[in-house]
């Protein structure tokens, strides 16, 4: 060993000059040095002071011969040996119990937590003690080296030598521990910090609830610049209670542990452990606060919590470790970080760079967690939109911070596909969700860029539904939106709501217009922001593309004309069934529609409403003159039915949707009444005359049985039917149909109303397809006694007085049927768009072909259903 060591010196000249005596002295000194080093390192330091002087003399004698490096090396190696053989295994042995932690169950972990804490503290203390001893020995060496250095006047400052040795020693200790690191140690650390943080959090939470004011003071202190002596202040300040002290103690404990760990070289592992623990806690907190409640904003409280718990903890910790000095200029630090928040996440930035960095990191993490949580639940949030506005607001802020809008779009679209755009969802629900989506996303993204992306699948889907237009019109005009159990539609129609919004916007816009001076213009210019990167450049800039709910809805259908047409049909239906002339709500709706769709497109509807107003006036007029006549003339007695019961709605049929005309013989006295009415009208309004639509209108009638009275509101046909039974209680269907003047099948359909009401009974007659209808005796109808003055309305969805839009289309298209048939005869087979183009080319006048491809397709599919045409592989054929 000595020969080896000597060869290391590599200075053969020196070797030559050595005398025998010197060699023996060196050998002796070396051996003794080795021995004494061994005893010292082992810690058998009963006579440390006595061995120290011996040690020193050996060291100096060795140094004298230029063997200083050898001495240093040997000492360090023996220290390392000691660490490897005894200290490290002893330390790790403490954690052997947790070697299979990963297999343990969650609740087991909970149970072990306290144990872990104690164990870790103890183990760290032990190893630290050990380390202190070793450092003491190292110091011994350093001192003795310094002594001989003075005599030999070697280069280097004494403190440099000390530093050099200690850094070397630290390197040794950390590398020894690292190489022997058991797998479970990071896990153990993680547990420890998790447990401590939770403890701290509960203390803080208690604090927070107990004394918000105190917390605020703490917060202010933070805001003022996070005084390093803050905790000292707190202790001095009497207002801080027991909890504060407890908390300080806790933080100090943790600080001690962290300090010990760092001194052992576990800096990054420790950081990882407490960072992950903090993030875990933060995540749990966000989940806990956010939960499934969208009615309140949680972002602020999360931020407060970050301030109150993890930041305070970190602050205290960094204070304890004396690390927060590095953070001196928070404002200059904050701005670059705030503008690029992603830079501090998830990179393992050093906590030593200060609290601010930690704060940003934590806040970003909180934002992201909350955002993910909200995005995952966006569908539900939008379902109860007006109530969930705070959640939307939160999400907006999160997204502004994280900029992960595309995540929202993707996740929301897939949620829509799974949950909304399915056959099971009613069109109304889809529309409501669509409107809520528009409103909600408008807050998040005023430019509507993401809305565009999200809305497209819904629009696409709705276009495929037949009742979309009808539902839209109902939703727009009807207060209940045709969906009584739906959320968020309490009596106010969508149109009214839109109008309110509009008015608000307009007043704001007006202000803008008035004071557009240079200053204002400059402000506007400064406010300009570029479109989000996801924006479609074809769609124009954000200012031209203001999100317009109605526009988006009309966008579903494609054109407003279709919408207006559908509204006209619905309006006609509504107006024709009115018994009073009260149309205030309709006028209001029409005015609102006019604002949005322009006066011209609503003109026909306006005329319809005007007809109603005119009818009211004319009706009173006509009736007044008739009553005058009847008072003077003797003919009043001949009239069996008074004019009082008759009202008429006089319509300008050109402007109404096509009305279904059906011949019906109404009861003779009423018929008489009508013709008298028409006569009077003709007298008043020459040269205009009236054409009765006898099948339209409503009749209120009362059936008085012996024991009860039933009131009905029915159509004239129903009334005519029941009136036939006053003369004759039993009819067979043929005769009854003839008497009323309707086909038998119509009669059968209509009379079922009375049958269902239990007024008329049906029995099969002699002929197989002949039925006999009999008036039900009141007494026989035992099941329905005790119903008095019941208002029943005949509501047959099947029979509408106005032709539906589809019927209109079919009627209009029949003109082209001949063309189409002729074309197909010539060409054999044609594709849809070819038929469309040919029609466009040849039918230019009278009537001009102005239908869309969809309308044509609809008509052709009708022809296919009628078996006139055949459709194979997208080509239409004539049916042979």
């Amino acid at each position: 060993m000595t020969a080896d060591a000597l060869s290391l010196v590599c200075n053969l000249g020196v070797l030559d000059s050595l005398s025998e005596a010197s060699i023996s002295e060196i050998l002796e000194s070396w051996n003794s040095f080795c021995l004494i080093t061994e005893t010292i390192v082992k810690g058998d330091d009963a006579d440390l002071s006595s061995s120290y002087s011996k040690f020193q003399s050996y060291v100096s004698s060795l140094c004298k011969y230029g063997l200083r490096s050898l001495v240093e090396e040997h000492f360090l190696i023996s220290l390392q040996d000691m660490l490897e053989k005894h200290v490290a295994p002893k330390f790790w042995k403490n954690f052997d119990a947790y070697s299979n932690v990963t297999d343990l169950e969650e609740n087991d972990k909970d149970m072990h937590e306290d144990e872990v804490e104690l164990l870790l503290c103890k183990a760290l203390e032990e190893i630290s003690l050990e380390k202190q001893y070793q450092e003491k020995y190292l110091l011994m060496l350093v001192k003795s080296l310094q002594l001989c250095q003075d005599s030999t006047s070697m280069e280097g400052h004494p403190s440099d030598v000390e530093k050099f040795f200690f850094s070397k020693y630290h390197l040794i200790i950390s590398s020894v521990l690292m190489t022997t690191l058991p797998r479970q140690f990071p896990e153990v650390l993680h547990w420890y910090f998790k447990g401590r943080l939770e403890e701290l959090s509960t203390i803080m939470a208690g604090n927070y609830e107990d004394s918000e004011s105190q917390d605020r003071i703490g917060m202010e202190l933070y805001g003022k610049g996070k005084h390093p002596t803050q905790f000292g202040n707190m202790d001095i300040d009497g207002s801080y209670d027991q909890k504060e002290i407890l908390e300080n103690k806790l933080v100090r404990n943790i600080g001690m542990v962290v300090h010990n760990l760092r001194s052992l070289g576990f800096t990054s592992m420790t950081e990882d452990a407490y960072a992950s623990a903090i993030f875990l806690l933060l995540k749990a907190k966000v989940f806990d606060l956010a939960g499934d409640d969208y009615r309140s904003s949680v972002l602020e409280s999360i931020k407060e919590w970050i301030q109150a718990v993890p930041l305070q903890f970190l602050h205290a910790l960094l204070d304890y470790l004396g690390d927060s000095i590095s953070y001196l200029s928070p404002s200059s630090m904050k701005s670059p970080l705030a503008s690029s928040p992603s830079s501090c996440y998830p990179g393992a930035s050093k906590p030593s760079e200060g609290i601010i960095r930690w704060q940003l990191r934590l806040e970003y993490f909180a934002y992201e967690t909350l955002q993910d949580l909200r995005i995952a639940k966006l569908f539900e949030i939008i379902v109860d939109y007006p109530d969930s506005a705070p959640a939307i607001e939160d999400l907006k802020q999160c997204l502004e911070y994280t900029g992960q809008h595309s995540k929202l779009v993707d996740s929301f679209i897939s949620a829509l596909q799974y949950r909304l755009l399915t056959a099971g969802a009613s069109t109304n629900d889809i529309l409501h969700q669509y409107v809520s989506t528009i409103k909600a996303l408008r807050t998040i993204d005023p430019a509507g860029v993401f809305l565009e992306a999200v809305g497209e699948p819904i629009r696409e889907y709705l276009r495929g539904r037949k009742d979309t237009i009808k539902c839209i019109v109902t939703m727009l005009t009807d207060g209940t939106g045709g969906n009584n159990n739906g959320p968020g539609n309490s009596g106010d129609s969508l149109l009214e709501e839109l109008n309110r919004d509009e008015e608000n916007q307009e007043t704001a816009g007006l202000d803008d217009d008035i004071n557009i001076d240079d200053k204002q213009a400059w402000i506007d210019v400064q406010r300009w922001e570029p479109d989000p990167v996801e924006a479609d450049p074809l769609k124009g800039s954000r200012y031209r593309r203001k999100v317009d709910v109605l526009g988006m809805i009309v966008g579903i259908i494609g054109s407003k004309d279709q919408l207006v047409n559908e509204y006209r049909v619905m309006l006609a239906e509504k107006l024709l069934n009115k018994t009073d002339y009260d149309i205030d709500t309709e006028i209001r709706t029409l005015e609102l529609l006019k604002i949005h769709f322009g006066e011209n497109s609503m003109q026909k509807c306006e005329i319809m409403l005007n007809d109603l107003i005119d009818s009211k006036r004319t009706n009173t007029n006509v009736k007044a003159t008739i009553n005058q006549l009847s008072q003077t003339g003797a003919e009043s007695q001949e009239h069996e039915v008074s004019f009082d019961i008759l009202d008429a709605t006089i319509i300008s049929s050109n402007f109404w949707p096509p009305i279904q005309d059906e011949v019906v013989n109404i009861p003779e006295p009423v018929d008489q009444l009508l013709s008298d009415y028409a006569k009077r009208y003709h007298e008043i309004k020459t040269p205009r005359k009236l054409l009765w639509k006898k099948n339209l209108g409503t009749v209120k009638l009362e059936l008085e049985f012996e024991d009860r009275t039933l009131q009905f509101t029915v159509t004239p046909v129903h009334a005519s039917i029941i009136m036939q039974f006053q003369d004759q209680t039993s009819w067979n269907s043929k005769n009854l149909a003839a008497a009323i003047g309707v086909p038998v099948d119509t009669l059968q359909r209509r009379i079922s109303f009375w049958i269902s009401k239990g007024i008329i009974a049906e029995s099969s007659g002699e002929d197989s397809n002949d039925h006999v209808y009999t008036l039900v005796d009141s007494m026989a109808d035992g099941g329905k006694t005790g119903i008095n003055n019941e208002e029943l309305v005949a509501d047959d969805d099947a029979e509408r007085s106005v032709a539906s839009v589809e019927d209109q289309l079919r009627k209009e298209m029949t003109v082209y049927e001949k063309f189409i048939v002729g074309m197909l005869k010539n060409f054999g087979s044609m594709a849809l768009d070819r038929i469309h183009n040919t029609l466009k080319m040849f039918c230019v006048s009278d009537p001009t072909y102005d239908k869309s491809l969809q309308q044509l397709q609809f008509f052709l599919s009708g022809l296919v259903a009628e078996e006139k045409l055949e459709l194979r592989d997208g080509m239409y054929f004539l049916k042979k």
Partner: protein
């Protein structure tokens, strides 16, 4: 009020609300000047009926009042029926 007494049941109609459409009692369907339906209105006015009446000339040709007035005003001093050139 009229009551129908038959057996034990009394039928009472107490309100009959009928629907009726009006039309001009003219032979033709459309105005010879604006080619719009009489029952509609001339291009200058929005509301049909009282606001846009018809007028019959001596020749028994009917026109929208506004249409024929415009015609007559443009034909000073002598106004002829645009259909048959009679005064």
């Amino acid at each position: 009020m009229r009551c129908f007494q038959e057996l034990k049941i009394l039928f009472v109609i107490y309100r009959w609300h009928a629907v009726v459409s009006w039309t001009w009692d003219a032979h033709d369907e459309t105005c010879g000047i604006c080619r719009m339906a009489f029952d509609g209105c001339c291009p200058y006015y929005k509301l049909p009926g009282d606001d846009c009446p018809l007028i019959w000339g001596a020749c028994n040709h009917a026109f929208h009042l506004h249409c024929i007035m415009k015609w007559v005003n443009s034909q000073i001093p002598q106004a002829h029926c645009p259909m048959c050139r009679r005064e």
